[in-house]
Symmetry: none
Subunit: 214 residues, 4 copies
DNA sequence: AATGAATGAGCCTTCATTCAT
DNA sequence: GATGAATGAAGGCTCATTCAT
């Protein structure tokens, strides 16, 4: 209907999801109030229950929406071809960019982080659609680098060691800011940080490969 | 205080703090209810306001209490002497143990993690008394390993890369459990995990040192 | 109206009334919801207000509709002729059948019962058009049986004594089912029950007549 | 505590029950609002949930309270001894008085009537503690009058025929008032009405007994 | 003639807090 | 020193109703 005039306000449905994304990311599911979300979306208090049925269902809708907007789709192809070292670098840059980003769907990763600490029924969806596919790609890359000498479990641990370094810049932002104020979280440092993590991890993987061959 | 007569119940004051620590760690500040805390402490609903004035003040008291009970005091000495590789191993084992522990003051680290993601005014105290001292020790160890060729900022990044791998096993426990169900979080795997992180990080540091020398 | 083309769905207007009749009878005016009614009628949420103006007005329309469909018209003639005992029996059977019936306009009597307990402005209409005419017939029959010796008020009381026994099987169905589970409410017992009430009441009336003669 | 000064206001607990009894009787469970109840009881909106946990539990409490205040206790003994005709008269008078009464626990019977038409889980309690014991006494009386010639089921039907005449003056009060305005519902007519029902029913029972003997 | 979107009043309930004892 | 009763603000949600189409 209103598709022909894209300059108009987005549909209430979408405005609610985007407002909810912000609020849930800022305050968590429990602390967020439907009233606040509706107000930010410029809608009536009853709008959430009209469009989504309940606060819980709205939360699920936010998760789905975030999933569809995920950065992954853009970079997925680049992670399939080329030398594994370069693909690792691409993955690290992509995820870190998403984590440091302050843009419109900035709350995607904040929500993922919240889900990690305090899972809701929505986590399962996130894992199957977002997290597991990425983890498989990363483990494939790692396997190419370390060779067949490592057990599957060891590859998992390496995978955790790599992604943990990236998520740290989200989880611990508040602490880092206070502890090491020189650190800057703008997108400008994105490449520097990504390169550190990449080199740090690549060295470690190569050393493991060398150990395994012996 | 009541230590001389350990057969008695601890003072209401203390029971409240310990109950609150559990509940805040499990559910977060907002979702936790004063009723639940008082019930677990075997005290009246009004006890929190009577003893601490408000829910917020109780939370602060919990943070102070957690700080005083911190594990660090026990292991601090061991981190001052010996070859840096061994001291790094000791640090990693100590922190990981604290993170994986389910014991009585298990909520200390859970609360720290929550503060990292969603800081309250209490975070500053935690940083100055708990986090900064440890970070200094870790950075000293790293410096010994990598030598003078790295900038101070690079040492910070290495420090983050190491501790992030440890905190990951707290933050992302829920995700790991679903993603890689073979993983076990008992204390029994504590040494295996710690050794992985240690070897992974040590390889990376040594590679950085070699690069820097060139 | 739409009777000429019986294969079509009835007009929305009629479907709403019939759905509303069911729902109001089942749940009462207050507990019934406009959404439920519209859903059962296969109409939009706004349909009630569009066609009737408000929930109240819909209720009035239901009462009028029920009145027009009343069973009475069919049996009225039979109540005018013959010996009074037989006419009493016909009346009792007719009313009891309506009360026990589960068929399409079953809610007519349920609504009447609700109105008796919790009158709305619609009750007056029901009384003048439905209830008073029947009561006059019954009292005429009673008068024929008891003769002129009883006062008009006493005839009223006898009338109440008779119809009360019938309505009891509606009002108190839930209680009877629990109290005396062997009791069956199918139409199959309709004649047995009607005969009990008829004989019980006839004996009482004849005794009153005999007393009055003395 | 406050027992020593009975002139004080009753405890909130009791005030709530009595206010709730009125409101539930007037408007039914669904239509009654907690706000209204609390206001009439002079208590805060949260009082119901504090004292009873929920609106449902309050309703159950009202039913129990009504049960304990039931008129039955006073007249139970009188129903055990003497000629059955007199005991029947006592029963009829007692129940009718309760039904016509406008006094403090006037809502007891209104609630019972509502439960009959629209049962809640509380009806079972009412039946077992209030209704079944009375019904047993009445059937015992009837049996004495009609002798052994009637089946148990026929005695049940006679029992229904008698009590239905009494409840009618509750259920159908609104209708009677409009249909036969000369009728008066004060306690003053209580004996006249009771005597009518008694004589009406006794005649019927004796006739049944005579038929059965033949 | 009819509808889907949206509204605002009001519902029951929960919560941290206060007060009298 | 500590408590049970009571409070009022706010929470999520339901409902009859209205409005633009």
């Amino acid at each position: 209907m209103a598709e022909s005039i894209p300059s108009e306000l987005p549909e209430t449905h979408v405005r609610l999801i985007e407002a909810a994304g912000e609020v849930f990311a800022e305050q968590g599911f429990h602390s967020a109030t439907v009233r606040d979300i509706c107000q930010r979306a410029g809608a009536n208090v009853a709008a959430v229950n009209y469009h989504f049925g309940s606060k819980e269902k709205l939360y699920e809708a936010v998760l789905h929406y975030a999933h569809k907007r995920s950065f992954q789709h853009a970079t997925r192809e680049q992670l399939q071809e080329g030398p594994p070292e370069e693909r690792l670098r691409t993955f690290i840059r992509g995820l870190l960019k998403g984590i440091l980003d302050h843009g419109s769907p900035a709350w995607l990763h904040q929500l993922m982080c919240r889900e990690m600490m305090q899972p809701t029924p929505g986590l399962d969806m996130l894992i199957e659609h977002e997290i597991r596919p990425r983890s498989q790609m990363v483990r494939a890359i790692i396997r190419e680098i370390v060779g067949p000498g490592l057990s599957e479990h060891e590859v998992w641990l390496c995978c955790f060691s790599i992604v943990s370094q990236l998520f740290f810049y989200h989880h611990s932002r508040a602490v880092i800011r206070r502890l090491h104020p020189e650190m800057c979280f703008d997108l400008s440092v994105h490449e520097e940080l990504a390169d550190h993590v990449w080199r740090f991890s690549l060295s470690a993987l190569r050393a493991r490969a060398a150990e395994a061959q012996r």
